[in-house]
């Protein structure tokens, strides 16, 4: 801890306790005011949350999300004109099963978080990552598309709300909870084992972190009764806080996520506007792929992460180039005599040769690479590629995803991929 013998640059009276940005010294109370103001300004500027809307807060228990939670509490306790007008709910996803935490450790932290959440008085959901395998397919709806912050109806909605001043009743909250179908116990041993097998089959930390993030977001899309994912707004505000705290990163090349984090942090110290520039750049980009043409039907979604597929691109593209490279570096797989293990018992045809379309094996036909391209987005293909054996993907998960896409050949596709990875 070092001493700052400076006065706060804002009130000019209090002793400064920290420096933000390049050289701005703030005292404790001015910093708190500044921080709260930034949070509220972000909400006000973006204008996406309409009055009375339900907003889901994703809380991980870390510094950033807990700050966000306390900001929301503070904002709801203000006087009527400046009070937040939305209804918050909390979700905490216990991913201890994927990270190797013991049942006791998980129960301890869950209990601690439960007491924190209860105190807030908000509706909360504490779910375990294993439960993603038992999601009923009917609730896996695609996420909402890019909201338009210049929507004129926002102002109308706010004005109307102020006029009518409706309050949320107990019944609304109860019915929202009832719509969820997660009723069963969180710690079923089979599901925990399934989760462990899935993560143990991934070779690199990068792919594990990607898979974790994908499963978490699939889970959150389940809770469709809450229409907005709050955390993204806060990133800029929280980034300022994160940069200030000492970050101890060991093995910063262990995964792409950690490498990127340390790269940005280090660059920030030499170029103080790095974080804000990156953030502003991202604000100018679409997060959801816009439709290719006006008349086109809604684009297909990735089987794994449910984002719009980005693999329907021109022949003159990076994606096409990767396919060309793969083809040119190995012999044609149709000619090889690799056998996918444990195929169906009714194999009347000789190994490696099908009996053609319409033949007796056509229903068990291994789909081509083309079929697989249609199912996964670019980055999920990379994550799956890292799996040693796709047979470790939980069967129930595969089943429900197969139902979702009415594609009986998905499981065959999974086998096909497993057999194609001979070079790993």
């Amino acid at each position: 801890m070092f001493r700052l013998n400076r006065k706060c640059m804002k009130c000019k009276e209090g002793t400064a306790v920290l420096i933000i940005r390049v050289n701005d010294a703030f005292c404790r109370s001015c910093f708190k005011e500044y921080f709260i103001h930034k949070f509220r300004a972000m909400l006000g500027k973006n204008r996406v949350i309409f009055p009375q809307e339900k907003v889901l807060l994703a809380v991980s228990g870390g510094a950033a999300s807990c700050s966000m939670l306390s900001q929301v509490q503070e904002g709801l306790s203000r006087e009527a004109p400046k009070k937040f007008r939305f209804v918050p709910g909390i979700i905490y996803i216990d991913d201890g099963g994927a990270c190797g935490r013991s049942a006791e450790e998980r129960q301890r932290s869950n209990a601690l978080l439960k007491s924190i959440f209860t105190e807030t008085g908000f509706t909360y959901f504490i779910v375990s990552l294993e439960q993603v395998f038992s999601l009923p397919t009917s609730v896996l709806v695609p996420g909402t598309s890019d909201p338009d912050p210049s929507n004129p109806s926002y102002k109308q909605a706010v004005d109307q709300y102020i006029k009518e001043k409706q309050t949320l009743t107990e019944e609304n909250v109860a019915s929202a909870v009832a719509q969820l179908s997660i009723a069963d116990s969180a710690y079923s041993p089979e599901r925990k084992l399934a989760l462990e097998r899935l993560f143990s089959s991934m070779k690199t930390l990068t792919a594990k972190e990607d898979m974790l993030q994908t499963l978490r977001s699939v889970f959150s899309k389940l809770l469709y009764s809450f229409c907005f994912y709050f955390l993204s707004f806060l990133r800029y505000v929280i980034a300022v806080l994160v940069i200030l705290t000492a970050i101890d990163i060991t093995h910063d090349k262990a995964s792409i996520q950690r490498l990127t984090e340390s790269f940005v942090t280090n660059l920030q110290s030499d170029f103080p506007s790095t974080v804000s520039t990156i953030y502003r750049t991202s604000e100018k980009l679409h997060t959801v792929m816009p439709p290719q043409s006006q008349t086109a039907e809604p684009a297909s979604k990735c089987l794994l992460c449910h984002c719009t597929l980005d693999t329907k691109v021109d022949k003159a593209s990076a994606f096409h180039a990767t396919l060309v490279s793969e083809q040119l570096s190995q012999i044609k797989l149709q000619d090889s005599s690799l056998d996918a293990p444990a195929q169906s018992a009714e194999q009347c045809c000789t190994e490696g040769q099908g009996c053609g379309p319409g033949g007796c094996c056509s229903s068990n036909r291994l789909p081509s690479h083309q079929d697989l391209k249609m199912l996964l987005c670019y980055s999920c293909r990379l994550t799956i590629k890292d799996m040693v054996s796709l047979r470790k993907a939980p069967h129930s998960w595969v089943q429900s995803l197969r139902v979702l896409h009415s594609s009986n050949s998905f499981y065959d596709v999974v086998d096909d991929m497993a057999s194609q990875q001979f070079h790993m």
């Binding site: 990068t206 790269f263 790095t274 750049t281 100018k284 570096s329 990379l382």
Partner: protein, 343 residues
């Protein structure tokens, strides 16, 4: 334990492809490498039959490999192109004069005509002289801007239809990262295009046939083919901002080799939100070159150098362009901001 080539299976593998991780023998690697470039050229429709194409040649590995492969593919697939080498002399003693010797040797080896244009004759300034005035921090800006125009001017003198440069996958990926870091939205959506638009009058289209070729593979190809190239880095480049993006990309590649192409894919699929302000293409009032401002960057930089105000082109001083065009003198305060920093 010897590994067999995963393509022909007959010969022993001598290398592992950085791009895909497959083990290949020399001939299969050459074939795959050349074939991928052929696919890139054909699928993007880069050239038309009968065109004259200038290959930007610096004597470095990228342009040497490009010249070699273009010659091979032109013959193998009958593209019907007339190829020639175009080289730029920036006036960097000890670096550029050595690499130009390499280009002259390439001219002999590939039997292609060669033209050299220099900063001295085009602008009246060598990079050595520029660095003396500007210092070591922003000199890459001058060189990059001047070289781009020099290539165009040289190509116009030769009356070619297209220019192609040796930019590789690593370069394009670095550029994408750099533009995100710097918040340059306009460049971000242009930088992954494989060729520049050909609708401007007098603007000769430029393309990058090596856009999907990994730098490591280019090095391997040049090494195994025993090509003659100059391998030293520019002596003025260590402090360039691009170095940060390059270091990050190299680390990414070591974690996951496909990262380079993945970044390019991201760059290609980015789309800009509506309502984001973008620059409009016009022409420079002084020299007629493509420009989004009243004066093109090259004219601004040159003006700054000639007036002893090297920071004129660095940073945003658009309001001063009008004054410069009208040949008005700048106020003392304006001049002070633009002078070089005293060490």
């Amino acid at each position: 334990m010897p590994v067999q080539c995963s393509n022909c299976v007959q010969r022993r593998a001598v290398l592992k492809r950085p791009k895909t991780g497959h083990s290949l023998c020399k001939d299969c690697f050459f074939w795959a490498f050349e074939e991928e470039i052929h696919q890139t050229i054909v699928s993007a429709g880069l050239f038309n039959r009968g065109e004259t194409v200038a290959i930007g040649a610096s004597g470095g590995k990228d342009s040497t490999v490009l010249a070699h492969v273009m010659k091979v593919l032109n013959e193998r697939y009958g593209y019907g192109l007339s190829l020639l080498l175009l080289s730029v002399d920036e006036g960097i003693t000890g670096y550029r004069d050595d690499s130009l010797e390499t280009v002259k040797r390439n001219q002999q080896q590939y039997e292609l005509p060669l033209k050299i244009v220099s900063y001295e004759e085009l602008y009246g300034w060598t990079m050595d002289a520029i660095v003396k005035q500007v210092g070591l921090k922003n000199n890459c800006t001058f060189c990059g801007v001047f070289r781009r125009q020099a290539l165009d001017r040289g190509a116009m003198m030769l009356k070619v239809d297209k220019i192609c440069t040796g930019h590789n996958a690593d370069d394009v990926a670095e550029t994408v990262l750099m533009n995100v870091l710097r918040g340059d939205i306009a460049r971000l959506c242009r930088c992954t295009s494989i060729s520049t638009a050909s609708d401007g009058e007098g603007a000769i289209p430029r393309c990058k046939p090596l856009k999907y070729a990994y730098e490591k593979e280019i090095v391997l190809y040049a090494y195994f083919k025993k090509l003659d190239y100059f391998s030293t880095e520019c002596i003025y480049s260590p402090n360039a901002y691009r170095g940060h993006a390059r270091a990050f990309l190299k680390d990414l590649e070591s974690i996951r080799p496909s990262s380079i192409i993945d970044v390019i894919h991201s760059g290609e699929t980015l789309s800009i939100k509506e309502g984001v302000k973008m620059p409009v293409q016009g022409t420079c009032s002084r020299c007629g070159y493509i420009s989004s401002q009243a004066l093109c960057k090259s004219c601004v930089l040159l003006e700054g150098l000639n007036r002893g105000l090297p920071k004129l082109g660095i940073g945003k001083h658009h309001r001063l362009h009008g004054k410069i065009l009208a040949q008005e003198p700048l106020t003392e305060q304006e001049e002070k901001k633009l002078k070089p920093v005293d060490f």
